[in-house]
């Protein structure tokens, strides 16, 4: 698992590649919360296009970051999850609480 982040055009972007499980989610949470709290961006984008595995730990992580973002006055957008990752997120009706986008990296300047 690897996480990369950047800030541009009023957005804080996170790219998570590899596997999101309980072990990794603890680290991801710390890393993301620190950046979300200190960023001036109004929107947080979590790109999952290179996440090739996740289990229900990812649910808690993503819903938790959506909450964290909203506490900081930001919104969270989940970008390009694979069909597999999407299936797990949809299981708990996360579609109701989360915003998804299929937008690609080169389209992020909007």
């Amino acid at each position: 698992m690897a996480i990369r982040s950047e800030e541009r055009g009023g957005e804080l972007l996170f790219y998570v590649s590899g596997e999101i499980d309980h072990h990794n989610s603890v680290f991801l949470r710390e890393e993301m919360d620190a950046k979300i709290a200190s960023s001036t961006a109004s929107r947080v984008v979590l790109d999952l296009s290179e996440t090739d595995f996740c289990d229900s730990s990812a649910l808690g992580l993503i819903l938790g970051r959506a909450r964290e973002a909203s506490v900081c006055g930001k919104s969270l957008l989940v970008q390009r999850p694979s069909a597999r990752v999407r299936k797990i997120l949809d299981l708990c009706g996360a579609g109701k609480y989360l915003q998804f986008t299929e937008r690609r990296e080169d389209e992020t300047h909007t």
Partner: protein, 149 residues
Amino acid sequence: MKRTLENRVKAEFSAKSENESLARVITAGFLMNYPVTTEELADVKTAVSEAVTNSVVHAYKGREAGGVRLEIRLFSGGLLRVTVADFGCGIADVQRAREPFFTTDREHERGGMGFSVMETFMDRVKVSSTVEKGTRVTLEKRLCRMQNA
């Protein structure tokens, strides 16, 4: 038809979070020699990850950390049976624990969807648990390309 055991592997490891990925790798390695579909492989890995994570997160909470035992068996006709066992606190009310969104660990952002994920991705999920003794989860799946094997 009587099923015969084709192959099995047994692994025991510490109930530590870094072993969640180890359990997935063992599972994938075992299945590598058989004609499983990508979807089936992902399904089984996800379910194993959930069961092992539960033993890591819940079984030894507030007590001395113990072990997790993973056993994978493949029977003739393509029946895969995976058991994940721990020797921890056990579950008092299994039926309740299996309900979607039920969790005893809200503070660590557990979503209570682990058992639901196992049920979604496997054909059968059996949970036997005894308080103060431990929990054993049995996961079964029929591998479609091995029906005639």
